[in-house]
């Protein structure tokens, strides 16, 4: 974990309204693991005050990238960054997918991503052992919001039916699982809480291990504030901290 002032390398719109910001940081690139995140101070003013957490989207050499859409003040400022501008980044943070992706017991990595939830997976796929089968299910509102970078063999669901399956990505997944047999599958997921909830129900019914990267409001991202609880199911403690113990959890272990 470092705090670094990283030069921006580029900002580009890689799907409709979805931006990729690339910055240069040797330390971050060298230590980041899939599913970890960085916490970015978007300017050096007191407004917005807090850092903004972003999943690590990709790492290539010393270049680290994040993916975002413009939601509020923070991302509005980020999207205006020019090459050479400097952003203040703390990372890599949290427990990502490493433990789950590197432990044995599965042959097929099934990715289920909704909306911006695709963010951690290009990096994830680049680090995945080559002997795994990979299957990706991506949900988006509409066709031009689909990010394909880093994926292959994508199954797409869109809310408006403009591409692929018309409807929810979990329904698409369910359909696939009822039509096909996958060898020792393990699910890796990220997306809106409502999606993760449905996914968790599905995977519990099917008894498939499922890991998801969660989002929640964070003040510090490093365990100082206790601001990011997720309620555990049968945990020793009532709450786990998303920023330190997560953001990746087994979906059956937490209340979504």
């Amino acid at each position: 974990m470092v705090q670094t002032h990283a030069p921006v390398h580029s900002v580009e719109e890689i799907a409709s309204g979805i931006f990729r910001l690339v910055f240069r940081s040797h330390e971050l690139a060298a230590t980041a693991q899939p599913g970890q995140f960085v916490n970015v101070k978007v300017n050096d003013s007191l407004f917005p005050l807090l850092r903004r957490p972003f999943s690590i989207f990709f790492v290539e050499g010393d270049l680290v990238s994040i993916l975002f859409n413009v939601i509020g003040e923070g991302t509005r400022i980020l999207v205006g960054k020019k090459p050479g501008d400097v952003i203040d980044v703390i990372g890599p943070l949290g427990n990502g997918f490493s433990a789950a992706m590197n432990s044995g017991g599965y042959k097929t990595a099934v990715i289920v991503a909704g909306g911006l939830g695709i963010a951690p997976f290009p990096f994830f796929l680049s680090k995945l052992e080559k002997n795994k089968n990979v299957l990706s299910f991506i949900g988006a509102r509409t066709a031009n919001q689909i990010v394909r970078f880093g994926f292959n063999r994508i199954h797409i669901a869109t809310d408006d039916g403009s591409e692929g399956f018309s409807g929810n990505v979990v329904d698409l997944l369910a359909e696939h699982f009822s039509d096909h047999r996958y060898e020792l599958p393990r699910i890796f997921s990220c997306g809106p809480t409502r999606m993760l909830k449905r996914l968790s129900e599905f995977t519990q019914k099917k008894n498939i291990a499922c890991y998801a990267s969660l989002e929640c409001a964070m003040a510090c991202g490093i365990g100082l504030c206790q601001g990011c609880p997720v309620e555990t199911i049968n945990g020793k403690k009532k709450y786990a901290l998303v920023c330190r113990e997560g953001p990746v959890f087994e979906t059956g272990a937490v209340f979504l």
């Binding site: 974990m1 470092v2 705090q3 101070k41 007191l46 407004f47 917005p48 005050l49 807090l50 850092r51 703390i90 929640c216 409001a217 964070m218 003040a219 510090c220 991202g221 490093i222 365990g223 100082l224 504030c225 206790q226 601001g227 990011c228 609880p229 997720v230 309620e231 403690k237 009532k238 709450y239």
Partner: protein, 313 residues
């Protein structure tokens, strides 16, 4: 310049501490901060039993500030002694244990458990806690209770005892006087201010507890006025807290009457802020040929000597 000094019986190497609840137990981020360069660490509020804290969401950002309703989540005094004190003993900066409780007995119990440990240089008492016996009303808004807590704790420790006051009262100086009269060595001013935020799309409050505590730069002017009010009312030292992000902010608090300051929310943004601020104060004093930082304390030139409450409209 000679920086180390004694305040309220504590020897600190500089005047910048990190505030309770904003730096964990001091051992969370060794990669990002050299804690030994801080004046001191105030721990997360400790209660007798571990506390889970409140449901999510516990955090909401506001203009130049944030709301929190952590719910005093902490590992409890027992685990703190077992797991944290050994580590804290190795720090060369002062470690102050902050105590929160829901009864006077609990305050006393936690303090008695911690008092024997050399690693604990002093105590800060968080009185912004619901008083379970009296229907959950905050101790901190009841002068008699603040006096009583101070008195009972004073009997139980010879270590520096600081009472951390809530700003959510009409005249904070009355509470400072209550603490002083019962033997407190210092008062910490201020804790967070009650605030609220609503998500207009979902119509839900942004915190699970409806209201929460506002902190950060937004509250700095309020905190400064409270420090100034308290400084003029009591003789014991005042520890200034509220919205500090820079050495300039810290100097403002010193001038208003704080003998030392604590950095809270800004640790979340820049975990090493306390160290940078301490260094900044030092450079400023060198540059201005101020031999003793203490000379800044209370040195504001108030143009008119109007009392705090009535001067401003």
């Amino acid at each position: 310049m000679h920086e180390s000094f004694t305040v309220a019986g504590l020897t600190l190497q500089n005047r910048v501490l990190v505030a309770s609840g904003t730096f964990g137990y001091g051992d969370e981020v060794p990669q990002l901060v050299d804690v030994n360069k801080l004046g001191g660490i105030v721990t997360k509020s400790l209660s007798m039993k571990p506390r889970d804290g409140n449901p999510a969401p516990r955090i909401a950002e506001t203009p130049s500030g944030m709301l929190n309703s952590i719910g005093l989540a902490n590992i409890g005094v027992k685990k703190f002694i077992e797991e944290k004190i050994p580590k804290l003993s190795t720090f060369s900066c002062a470690v102050i244990a902050n105590i929160a409780a829901s009864s006077v007995e609990e305050y006393c119990g936690v303090l008695e458990k911690l008092d024997p440990f050399e690693a604990i240089a002093g105590f800060e008492i968080n009185v912004s806690c619901p008083n379970v016996k009296e229907g959950g009303l905050s101790f901190g808004t009841d002068k008699e209770k603040v006096a009583l807590i101070t008195k009972e704790l004073r009997r139980r420790t010879k270590k520096p005892l600081m009472i951390k006051l809530t700003p959510n009262v009409t005249h904070i100086s009355e509470f400072a006087l209550a603490a002083e009269s019962e033997g407190a060595d210092a008062v910490s001013v201020i804790n967070t201010i009650i605030g609220m935020a609503i998500d207009i799309r979902t119509r839900k409050t942004k915190l699970s507890t409806v209201t929460g505590g506002l902190s950060g730069p937004a509250i700095k002017p309020i905190a400064l006025a409270k420090v100034y009010e308290v400084y003029r009312a009591v003789k014991i030292p005042v520890i200034g807290i509220g919205g500090i992000t820079s050495w300039e902010d810290a100097v403002e608090f010193l001038l208003a009457g704080a003998s030392a300051v604590q950095v809270g929310t800004y640790n979340f943004v820049v975990p090493s802020a306390g160290v940078t601020i301490a260094e900044g104060i030092k450079s400023f004093c060198e540059q201005q040929s101020i031999s003793d930082v203490g000379k800044l304390v209370g040195a504001v030139e108030a143009k008119r000597d109007l009392s705090v409450i009535e001067s401003w409209l």
